[in-house]
Symmetry: C2
Subunit: 209 residues, 2 copies
Amino acid sequence: MKRPPEISISRLAIYLRFLEDYIKEKGPQATINSRELAHFLDINHHQIRKDLSYFGKFGERGVGYRPEELKEKINNILGLDRGWNLCLCGMGNLGLALLAYQGFRLMRLDIVAIFDSDKKKIGKVFQGAKVYSPESIALVAKRLNIDIAIIAVPQSAAQKIADKLIHAGIRAILNFAPVKLNVPRNVKLRNVDLATELINLSYFLSSPK
Amino acid sequence: MKRPPEISISRLAIYLRFLEDYIKEKGPQATINSRELAHFLDINHHQIRKDLSYFGKFGERGVGYRPEELKEKINNILGLDRGWNLCLCGMGNLGLALLAYQGFRLMRLDIVAIFDSDKKKIGKVFQGAKVYSPESIALVAKRLNIDIAIIAVPQSAAQKIADKLIHAGIRAILNFAPVKLNVPRNVKLRNVDLATELINLSYFLSSPK
């Protein structure tokens, strides 16, 4: 199989979200073809077919895709059908917002532990997840089979937490701290950088049209 | 001037953040060449020179860049030197996290108003910004010269708020709601999609190495 580009993976996530809404609205028996999908999503239909082609054959000529089937296949491709255990590092306002975000559970992404160095928070339970000291990351990560970590600590603490997570065997990190983290090659790091997003808007507003 | 690609703009934001730290550490008189910059940032030095070349001539042959000067030029290119007024739509946990985020003020991005439909919140002040009803977006946006809006409302309310913002003349939106917003061509929309980021990690963990 040819390795699909990361942008195709991101688009699969968009197709998945659309299919969930579509099934809710039209029922599981409806079919949809790539042109309709393209129209709804405002993505070229050749692009949609190309994205899906990395993963095998989908849909039926003259009929289109069966949304339920396509959704299940995409869930499987993306590894969402098996579910993942997440930990949240940093229990500030951003941490609370992430815990409250319903989208995670819909995707079988379950925050099962929280790490925070604030002694007043350690031992408490938020949305079903207990707060532990960062010192026990290795222990807790192993015991609770944690796969993915979310870093939502201040910039100055981010690399130290990342090192602990990596040492504990975690290979996938979503980082919200505005700092470039150093991680080994076998660890997948994604950054959500609010500053960069806003800077893009600033540039748009100030650049000549 | 050749229009720079969006990825170059994003990298300028990274250079800017690095330069701020570098000046703090080494003082404003130090110089840095593109190879050193490349080494620190783990970005190819040809790439750095190319990114900067879209905007004119920088640095001095044999000497390198003067960090303070480069920082000021990048701030000017990105429109950050003039400062922007922001509004925050949605005052939940994510809203609180965004208000507390110090990075905005460093970039002269100032949240000057909050919109929330919760009557208990309207009239209160958070981090210096007053909460208004979404009904008064047009009025407040004009009175406070709001340039950029952040949408942090639930998915179901996002398009309605976006429509109000656009109607009020706001042309730059950062959207955190997990929904594809429809905006006219002259409005710049950036999305921060937590689900897509996590799906990328899920795919990484489950795909064959």
